[in-house]
């Protein structure tokens, strides 16, 4: 009986965390690779790794968000390590047409804007890039970002504001 209860709670716990974090992990990876098919594959890998290591996760050591985004970052890094040298990652907008989403015209326009944003982001310093990605796509708070990057919380706030200003200037050409 207790085993059954434990099994049920473990299943429920993972299902709850999945519901809470899937969108954020997906968005974070999508912005990194800008391709829906690749994003779906990598998101699956992240959650499979989380599932396999779920028993080892300890909330005393880190929040679940910090833990799962550490996995997501490593999965994306591994993906680029293997794939980028072989061929360029296709950027979407022109090649994809998701069914539930905006019209094809909106889709193309949005894809181009994302591409422009990505290009401008690459011009920022490494830590500024990561702060922007972790804030807007992973929706982490400054404390969580600070912990992941090993810098102070105040520093995250400073760098975020400056990075967004730089991005805006770059995207809008001002």
């Amino acid at each position: 009986m207790s085993e059954l209860k434990e099994a049920k709670s473990s299943r429920e716990a993972f299902a709850e965390l999945y519901e809470e974090y899937l969108d954020r992990v997906f968005r974070y990876i999508h912005f990194r690779v800008n391709n829906t098919q690749v994003t779906e594959d990598l998101t699956s890998v992240v959650f499979e790794k989380a599932l396999v290591n779920f028993g080892r996760y300890s909330s005393d050591k880190a929040k679940f968000s910090t833990w799962i985004f550490a996995i997501a970052r490593n999965v994306v890094i591994d993906y680029y390590r293997v794939n980028v040298k072989k061929h360029a990652v296709p950027s979407e907008g022109l090649i994809e047409k998701p069914s539930e989403d905006p019209s094809p015209e909106d889709e193309v326009e949005q894809g181009e804007e994302v591409k422009k944003l990505q290009d401008c982001l690459k011009q920022l310093q490494w830590d500024e890039q990561e702060i922007v990605r972790l804030k807007f796509w992973a929706e982490l708070n400054n404390r969580q970002i600070a912990k992941m990057l090993g810098i102070s919380e105040t520093n995250v706030g400073t760098k975020l504001y400056r990075a967004v200003k730089k991005l805006r200037s770059c995207v809008q050409g001002t």
């Binding site: 473990s10 993972f14 499979e48 804007e113 804030k135 706030g157 504001y161 967004v164």
Partner: protein, 265 residues
């Protein structure tokens, strides 16, 4: 200066509210620059792509199925009790059973006499661990770490270092490194201060006896905050590797030591 500091702090708070689904408005007193940045943050949020409901549902189903399979496997394993293991060791025929019990009693008797120190010339002075060592029972899994190149590497500032770290199993059994890769640090050679820490991975890797596993480390000469480090000597250090041997956690090797020196000119 104060205004800038206040804006930096408020900006994060405003963005967090936007991300939480609140509408978010900027006070009248905020600067034009702040308003523009805030408006741009809104635009970034609009550009984010959502996963399709089909993908969400399929992945959820797939993961929960895997979770159930893993739980069933664990339950199956836990059913094999110590008693069942012992019973499986005892032969079925009466003759062999008798022989097995006789040998077991004999071994037990020898161990009791040995424990009492009767085999020693100075009774009572031989301790347990020393006895084990005398019998030559291996106490730990053995993992040897090497690098390629093994000699110090020198590069000008800004040029990435690439080092292959070889995890070599020098024991007689297969071992599993879990997690893989372990934490790898770049330390200043003189002070041992950690300038860059590469987080541990989430995989595990099995290594057969006498086999090796190669991990390619690339260091872009930057510290944990993304800044180029100063010229000087740095060491690649692995402080701990978690190893499983026959499903038991074991110490792989003792303590941190520099694997290779990297020199930035």
């Amino acid at each position: 200066m104060d205004r800038e500091l206040r804006e930096e702090r408020e900006f994060s708070e405003h963005v967090d509210r936007l991300l939480a689904g609140e509408k978010g408005t900027v006070d009248e007193g905020e600067s034009e620059e702040y308003r523009r940045a805030f408006s741009f943050a809104r635009k970034i949020i609009r550009l984010r792509r959502q996963p399709s409901p089909r993908f969400k549902a399929e992945l959820r189903k797939q993961l929960l199925l895997k979770l159930e399979e893993r739980q069933e496997e664990q339950e199956e394993r836990s059913k094999i009790t110590l008693w069942e293991v012992f019973r499986s060791l005892v032969p079925k025929t009466p003759v062999w059973r008798g022989a097995t019990v006789t040998v077991a009693v004999g071994v037990l008797a020898v161990l009791v006499i040995w424990g009492a120190g009767l085999f020693s010339q100075t009774p009572g002075t031989v301790t347990g661990p020393e006895s084990t060592a005398m019998l030559g029972v291996p106490s730990t899994a053995r993992l040897q770490l090497e690098t390629s190149p093994s000699d110090a590497l020198a590069h000008p500032a800004g040029e990435a270092f690439q080092v292959d770290i070889i995890f070599k199993n020098i024991s007689a059994d297969s071992i599993t490194i879990d997690p893989y890769p372990p934490v790898i640090e770049i330390q200043e050679a003189d002070t041992s201060d950690v300038v860059r820490s590469f987080a541990q991975g989430t995989d595990k890797r099995e290594i057969a006896p006498s086999e090796g596993l190669i991990y390619m480390l690339v260091w872009d000469q930057k510290d944990d905050s993304g800044q180029q480090v100063d010229s000087g000597r740095y060491n690649v250090v692995i402080s701990d590797v978690e190893v499983l041997k026959n499903a038991q956690a074991e110490d792989a090797f003792g303590g941190a030591r520099p694997l290779v020196e990297l020199v930035i000119q």
